[in-house]
Amino acid sequence: MVSLDEKQQKGRRKGFSSQEMKEMLSGYLYISPFFIIFAIIGLYPAIFSLILAFQKWNGMGEMEFVGLSNFKVILSDPLFWKSVYNTIILGLMGTAPQLVIGLILAFLLNLSYLRFKAFFRVTIFMPYITSMVAVALVFSVFFSNNETALVNYIIGLFGFDPVSWKTSEWGAKIAIATMVFWRWLGYNTIIYLAGMQSIPKELYEASKIDGASIFQQLRYITIPLLKPFILLTVFFSTVGAMQLFTEPTVFLGNTAFSRDEAMTVVMYLYRDAFRLSSFGTASAAAIVLLLFIVVASAFNMMLTKRLGNDRRET
């Protein structure tokens, strides 16, 4: 077969043969559906959002250019900053434990002598199959404000007073972080497990001969070699956490947009747009959110990268 470069050079010298033309046209034709759909429902809305962020508009009348005033409005709105704070705290509470425990679980599931492997893998992964709405509803009953709610009953056994999970600052956050943890733990475990299976077994055997303990193996072999996979999950989790919407909205039900304990940035922008018909400020919030996502994922990726390096050097 003629290599790509040679063929392109030939094309440039002599013009394209009719067969090459056909191939080119087919190529563009086959990739065109994505680009056509993207232009309509991806690119155009993104650009329109950028424009809207500088307009005052309630969705019906004329748009009015207002410069940066939408950004001023949201950046001076305490509720916006509360939603940023909530999003970050919920992100940390929901994802950090999940990644650490997922790593430990994957390590155990990867041990060659572990029994009932298939059973553990299926049960731990099962929550991922339930929808976020279903999870939020089940947990909204676990964590209801009721004194007899299951979680209140359980903490009562340990001598704690019942908590108003849906209407208290930390109650709502703990409940939401728990459901995020429950649903995504298995998913991250499976990704780590896939990564661990690509680490050669000989490394563990050699380290055992050198007298390494299981924790040393985890620290000096597994974690450094798993770094690409850890970066991947950290990236997914960060982006997902910054976009948190379904869990708090469904968990809180009819009070979702009227209380601030669990309002996230996406809920804030949804409320601006679809409850208050303030499309300009909502679009401004969407753009600020985009910046946050970029900064947060860059920051977390840097942190994760460094973590791996430190471990390898010590």
């Binding site: 392109q8 086959y30 809207l52 929550p127 199959i129 339930t130 676990f142 990704i191 997914f236 039900g253």
Partner: protein, 280 residues
Amino acid sequence: MKGDVGTKKWGIGRLGMYLFLTVISLFSLFPFYWMFVMSTRHSSAYNSIPPAMVPGDQLKENFQKVLDMIPFFQSMLNTLIVCLTVTIVVLLISSLAGFAFSKLKFPGKNILFFAILFTIIIPPQLGLIPQYLLVAKAGLLDNLFAAMVLFFLNPLGIFLMRQYVSESVPDELIEAARLDGCSIFRIYRSIVLPIILPAFATLGIIVFTSVWGEFLWQFTVLRDPESYTIQVALASLNNTHKVDFGMLLSGVFWATIPLLIVFLLFNKLFISSIAEGSVK
């Protein structure tokens, strides 16, 4: 690797390990069991101390209450239509584009491919408002087509298909077919398609499960209960002041069961597909 945890076969370390895995497994399973229990109990069971842990006799009654609240079967059907259509469209778009990016030669190929990958980082909320306005203007609110159209865009699908075609379809095979005078579409249909069918299963599972659980977009464009997908319908059950928990969890239980059964039957394929889709 024998004896890594504790030196004895059933040393304390190994026992702890199984204990830990069992606790996590129970934690994962409990909500499933409990939603089943509650879907069979009268709401009053919820106030009992200690909490009800065994099934009751209200299975039918609770589900009847769900049917009184939401068009359950219609919503399930809507979800099924949305998921199947999106899956088929994504498989078609991705396999055609994956084939083109992997085997055809055309100027700008690499730039265009990276452009597709780049769209992954655009968060879906950025365009939410204009997308809604677009749908409203086209008169497609409450229309299932609106509920699916956003998910036709699947850059990851194109990426996966390109990988798969590159790895599993030999260039020689395509060259031979070309010499035999096969048209390019014929090559796609008769040579590439049969080889990449396993990848259809992988991508199909990923797309189907993710669209099944989709909420924000459908919550935004579907306002008429008859057009609800099951997730929007379920969420609406919790949107009243006083919620009947038995009814609520009955709805959740029956909406969760179908996909759960499919998952349990094909769990190996599910887990490997979702891992592969993320890791590639």
